[in-house]
Amino acid sequence: MIFAEDVVALSRLQFGATALFHFLFVPLTLGLSWILVICESMYVMTGQQVYKDMTRFWGKLFGINFAMGVTTGITMEFQFGTNWAYYSHYVGDIFGVPLAIEGLMAFFLESTFVGLFFFGWDRLSRVQHLGVTFLVALGSNLSALWILIANGWMQNPVGAEFNYETMRMELTSIADVFFNPVAQVKFVHTVAAGYVAASMFVLGVSSWYLLKARDTGFAIRSFAVAAGFGLASVLSVIILGDESGYTSGEVQKVKLAAIEAEWETMPAPATFTAIGIPNQKEERTDYAIRIPYVLGLIATRSVDKQVTGIKDLKVEYEGRIRSGMAAYDALQKLLAGDKSDPVKQQFEAHKHDLGFGLLLKKYTDKVTDATPEQIKLAANDTIPQVLPLFFSFRIMVGLGFLFLFIFAASFYFLARRNLAPQRWLLKLIVFSIPLPWVAIELGWFVAEYGRQPWTISGVLPTMLSASALEPGQLHFSLLGLLAIYSSLFVIEMYLMLKYIKLGPSSLHTGQYHHEKTLKQGEQHA
């Protein structure tokens, strides 16, 4: 065998851990930037000082998070070249474009305007400063767009062809890459999830001030902004998540079947397994509670189309593996110098299944001579582990509906001017602050783990993407990165908690809790 599975697993763990840490910072930046736009728009429209104070205070927390989070994603780009060299080469022609644009967006647009946001209060007019805040939000969100275009291409590699001479995928249509339906759905779903996280953060901190009965005017206005923005965002997340399910049903059938633990192709419309215990070995779900029609409606938007089950997908993929063997055979001949028309035609006819042929390399170096048993084993590998996907997805969805309840209840009691007595709700919100991050990380896990065994769906298996490194090197760098990111996370928590405790008093306007208490103390003295 030409690859070591432990190296692949360690490289995956390192990349996953880095992405997980990076994505702790990103959602708050995405959502808080728009909350700043809303607060500052209120300030520009009404001229009330409290809205300026809200923009400056939440802007401070935004600044801490931005400073902690910026460049934490850069180690993923380091890892592409070092740990995932074959992947990098294979996709560099396509992947490089959105990553380069993201770099320009992140560093030139976002960073420039973040500086102006903090230092431009006395130098710009109200409207000009609002424009700057808007551009900060736009820059942050556009950065996410380019990253998710790159990621969407890994899930649904459109607009590219494999070139056997350069041994890489080459771009054939930039428009197809940019307007990839998977990327578009991922973008709107992901940024909306970030808006929910930021709204819950502002709602939670404001609730804490309300429970402590401090800075209530400031807190109730912040609460109102977060409740409105959060309610709209969580509805978007749920609707766009449904759209994501539909897109998966179209182009990522195996991921959808694994998430739903749908082993058999059921008669249309497919039932949705609300809960159960998937048993991958026996290919069944124990103790399943099924809801009629729902999966069919989500995945096909119809009541008369089937959703293909895992067993049938495996049969389909066995066929693609055999086609991939023919592509592999032609590729070998082409690279050996036989460029006759029949060989080229054979390659053209089967090259879209080359990736499936490559799955056999786990079992044999002689792909073209693979036995039926080896083909069956490779077909089994096309199915990701169902159990973790099944439960991660359900926890994420369950949390989504909890957020809907929280934002709807917040909005309702706020509109009825009856929020203060609802201490149970305020406490629930404070304890729910970390939950959007849990849901977001689970969503990321479902998207990326559900793509296995591929780095690029149907094109390049993960096992062939990783560099041939020593496990020791990977252990050492993994521990080092974990230490760096854990330190950053601890510093972020320390600074955030410090400024949250200070609250708007940290603005030094003399209008808020700590400064008033200090003044009163001085007067008494």
Partner: protein
Amino acid sequence: MQLPSFDRRLALEITSVLIVKCTLLWLAWHAWFAHPLAKDMNMPPQLVRQQILGAPASGPALRTPGETPK
């Protein structure tokens, strides 16, 4: 530009953290990632061919990305 005292403190804290962070990331790059096999997302195609096909690197000369066909 004169900043209020709390802003000055925050600016100092953030600047310190950014300096430490950039230093740590640079050290991480230097220690583990300074010699990527795929520089600028490119490798010699022979190496990729060896990985994908498990064949020896020797064989007919192949074009590298960007090279024009002869």
